[in-house]
Amino acid sequence: MYKKIFIIDDDEVSSFLTEATLAEEAFAQAYECYHNGKEALEALLPLLQGQPAAPLPDLILLDLNMPVISGWGFLEALAPYAAQLQGRCLIYILTSSVDEEEVKRANENELVAGFLHKPLIEDSILRLKQARR
């Protein structure tokens, strides 16, 4: 079971659905939702910059198409912390896009553990569970 999951998505319905679907599966202990990359970074960067008061999320579900700071912008901002994140925090893209270009681009990014299409179906949840072990 995941301890803490970040759900980063500007689409309120989608966030609701993701959280509800995972909760139904008793997937994680805690869920935190952010509406864009900027909000998520504001929460995550202090944890990475040596304030161990709270633990890092062990899974981030990241949407790509968001205002202010998109999913790509978020990944870019995390690039300097790749080593810290390695093995401690899995980042999965979760998007409604069916654009193959984006899949390809995501696979080239070393921070990205996998690419999932919305909505989260059972196969995807299984993949996430297996990745945890």
Partner: protein, 768 residues
Amino acid sequence: MKILPLQFSTLTRPNNAPAPVFLTPAFLLVMNAPQQQCKPADTQAAPFYQALVTHSTELISVINEEGVYSYVGSSVKQQLGYEVEEMLGTCAISYIHPDDAACAAKVLGDIHLLQDVQMKPFRFKAKSGEWRWMQCTITNMLENKYVQGIVTNSKDVTEVVEAESRKDYHLAYYEALFFEHPDAVFTLDSRGNINRVNSHVSLITGYAEADILGCHFSILLHPDHAQLAEEAFREALAGKALHRKLPILSRLGEEKMLFLTLIPVHIQGEAVGIQGIAQDITASLQAQQLLKDQANQLHNIVESIPDPFYVLDSAWRFEHANAAYLNFLGTAREHIAGKNIWELYPFAATTGFYEKCLEVAANRTTVYFEETYPGHRFETLKFTIFPADSGIAVHFVDYTAQKLTQLELEKLSLVASKTINGVVIMNNKGCIDWVNDGFCRITGYTREEVAGLAPSLLLQGPDTDPEAARRIQEKYRLQQPFSSEILNYKKNGQKFWFAIDVAPIFDAQGELVNYIAVQTDITERKESEAKLLTLTDDLLKHNRNLQQFAYIVSHNLRAPVANALGLAALLKKLDKHSAFYDKSMEKLQVSVHQLDTVIKDISNILTTREAGGMETRKQVSLLEVCQEVLQSFEEQLQEIGAQVQLEIDSSIQMLSIKAYLYSILYNLISNAIKFRATERPLSLHVAVAKDARGYVLTFSDNGLGMDMRQVEHQLFKLYNRFHTDIQGKGMGLYMLKTQVEALGGKVKVESKLGAGTTFTLFLGAKHV
């Protein structure tokens, strides 16, 4: 001619001096002795005298008072061939030569007054009829009683007289040669001093005879050649007659060239001087030189003719051929000199050239003609044949190349006049000299109409690209060849496109003489190009739209679909009576609603794009549209206390689509209200200005503003949003851009975070 050496003493003896040989004292002694011994007459005396007289070499006779022989010595037989008896009683004068008779008669007549007379020699007729010269002394013995007559004592001096006369003869010859010689004749003594000169010496040298006699010959000579002259003198003196050419200086300083003949004079084997003849050859030398120069000059002229030239004599033999002709034949002068041309080149005798040569030789008039020899190295020759001396002279040029050029020119001129393209020949000022039929056909102008005009001024018109026209003018000015495409006007005002190739033509000195322009009507091509461009533009637009559509499908359409799917799956698992089920159902409704909105948006966007090019445009007042939009926001604007400043001239009318302008302004005002800064009242400024290509609408607010670096690539994308706390779906600016582009314009944004945003809309040339 050789002059015999003579003794100086002989030369200088006076002409009439008596010869010393005539009567020697010994002879007189013999003559006188018997006469003195005559006086003691005795009986033995008669035979003694008889014998003496008979054998004497002299002839003694006695002539009586009547002039008749009364005694003739018997030696007459031996000396003159007469018998004594034959002569006795005959008249003495009758024997004497008629020329001498008068003189002899006078001496005989005068004898009375004298005792003895020595007579000049006279001619006496011998028995044989031959005249003999006799020397005679007569003694008057008329008073002597034994003699009673004139005693003649004669001697035959024929040999002596004749010898004397021969000497006079030689001297006369020599004197004539010396004095009458047409050249200067002179003698020098053994030291080189001038002894004698004839009159020509003065004529040639300019010195009087007296001035130079006794002087050394060197005073006459050109000082530069004194040495040579001295050597010649020495050589001649040594016994060798010789010739020399030597220059002298006359008294007036004039240089003359003399041809000298120097002959040594010897007396008894000893050289006593030089006799010389000097011929003035200055003039003949000059004439010779002149002749030589002229011949040389003539030769040079003939040789310098770059074209072949030769002269044939009356028997058709080569008399002269210049280098160009030899070069043309590829032979040496010695191979043709003196040879008959028809024998040497039998082919020539089969040509028209042969006929012409015969014609010139017969008529003695010059002919000009051209002849072609197909298949020969020289295909066409152009001849001039003219009579010269006894034969003919031939000059010709190889006209093959010119002939070819001429033919090519004819062909080119055919091309230029018959081609469907326009061909224009301009003078060096760029004004038309000539145009071909093609030009007239394309432009509709006649040749006469365009003569003297500049093609650019004639053909270009208001829609001609001024930049292209300027480039063409520049090329003309730089005298450079160029190609260009330009919009021109026909005489009837119809527009057409010309592709022009213009080449400046320079003469051998590099001076510009002409421009030649070839023009092709490319109107059709230009039109299809323009069509192609529109087509490409349309395709590009469609392609962009398709990409955009794919993006919308993959993102904006897919998102609510994915949510709906997810929620549907979730709902199955949830308790239908739980609050969470209701909430999920509510979310499902939202998702389906979103889906509907997106589909409507897509439809709206596609309609706008398609309609942009087709919807009919009407005159729209910008101010009116703006006021209408503000009207619909009036309440909201009042509520937030916004200030709106309009700077739009009411007269500004645009040919446009009102709905789009409305939508554009609506989106701008809506955004300005949405993204206003809460700490200050909103201030809007809307202005329209006219620029070169159309109208420029500026829309400025003092709202939140944006970090342009962050948003510049995202701003106008569909469903892109930058403010999470402010409502919006990211459709407004995308629609705005779509509509502006549909109207043929473009959008520019300037913004500063915390200060405000300015949108500049360029509503293109199509609106004017």
